[in-house]
């Protein structure tokens, strides 16, 4: 295994841990996007450029967009429910 592969594996591990530790959904969507980018570099370094490209578009475009739109939709519902509970 080359040094580059080692480095990328560590970066992926750190980014994955960061995704889990961030608790706020909005930030988490962004951090998860970075995790996806790190994963795509990992795939590329391990010789799978096709998978890397799919990973980029899914993790950095499709998923964050859907999560952000869903968060925008439920943002007001959330506030209403908190008011009811109080």
């Amino acid at each position: 295994m080359t040094a580059l592969q080692d480095v990328v594996l560590v970066v992926v591990a750190l980014a994955g841990t960061a995704t889990v530790t961030v608790r706020e959904p909005l930030r988490q969507a962004v951090v998860a996007g970075f995790f996806g980018l790190a994963l795509s570099v990992l795939f590329f370094v391990f010789g799978a450029p096709d998978v890397a490209l799919s990973e980029i578009v899914v993790a950095a475009v499709a998923v964050p967009l859907m999560v952000l739109l869903a968060l925008a939709k439920i943002a007001e519902t959330d506030v209403d429910e908190e008011d009811d509970g109080a």
Partner: protein, 249 residues
């Protein structure tokens, strides 16, 4: 489950996962190792029998082309399903008002962001189109390029041109792309039955490996997948966006 039991379960599961992952990575073939037989075979089949230089495209659209047809139909049905569900209670006039209200109410997007968005649209379209049409030659293909093209539509929204997007009415176009792409893939599959030996068998000229027009049906399938994925992803994102606007309005 108590907090302690959950912690113990988490710890045990993490240890097992770590051991499995580390041993799996340690078993990965070295870069210097000779490629396995399956890799040589699939490369040889893609190159000699289909004249395609991207082995992955050769595998997805030839060796397991029927699986890919199923995947395309899954995406098609999923997009249509979400559109049907989300549209059930939607009123087009209400939506249009909501879109305009959202446009007016929204703090004006910074001009730098608008300029950057507008600037990125054309290169994104070109890059997406390139990736879709070169799937048989280089890594990438219909799916990857299609998501990029769908993302470009949303870039127009991010640049603050919601009213422009509404006027263009991409909804009909997006639905048409979704349906046409899926239909084209299915028709190529049937074409294999009619003009050749089996479903998805090649019935077009193979061309010279490495040239733009080569790979026979693989090229047609890549483009139809690109059109379909663009439509499907844009449709889902559009529906979610409409929901957000109604909620705000």
């Amino acid at each position: 489950m108590s907090r302690r039991a959950r912690g113990a379960l988490f710890g045990a599961a993490t240890v097992v996962l770590a051991v499995v992952l580390v041993s799996a990575v340690a078993e990965l073939p070295r870069p210097s190792a000779p490629p396995p037989r399956s890799a040589k075979l699939s490369t040889s089949v893609s190159l000699h029998e289909r004249h395609g230089t991207d082995t992955v495209a050769g595998v997805t659209f030839d060796l397991r082309g029927f699986d890919t047809l199923g995947e395309e139909l899954i995406l098609f049905v999923a997009a249509i399903g979400s559109a049907v569900l989300l549209r059930a209670q939607r009123d087009p006039e209400l939506l249009e008002r909501a879109a305009h209200a959202a446009d007016e109410r929204r703090p004006r997007t910074a001009s730098a962001l608008r300029a950057l968005g507008a600037l990125l649209v054309a290169p994104m379209l070109v890059l997406g189109g390139y990736i879709v049409t070169h799937g048989h030659l280089t890594p990438g293909g219909g799916f990857q390029g299609g998501v990029m093209l769908a993302g470009t539509l949303l870039l127009v929204y991010a640049a603050g041109q919601m009213a422009a997007l509404e006027r263009m009415h991409p909804q009909a176009l997006v639905e048409l792309a979704d349906a046409l792409g899926a239909a084209a893939f299915a028709l190529v599959a049937v074409g294999g039955l009619v003009f050749a030996s089996a479903a998805l068998a090649n019935f077009l000229a193979l061309g010279v490996a490495g040239h733009f027009l080569s790979g026979g049906t693989i090229f047609v399938l890549e483009v139809s997948v690109g059109v379909e994925v663009t439509g499907a992803i844009a449709l889902v994102l559009n529906e979610l966006l409409d929901q957000t606007l109604i909620r705000e309005g």
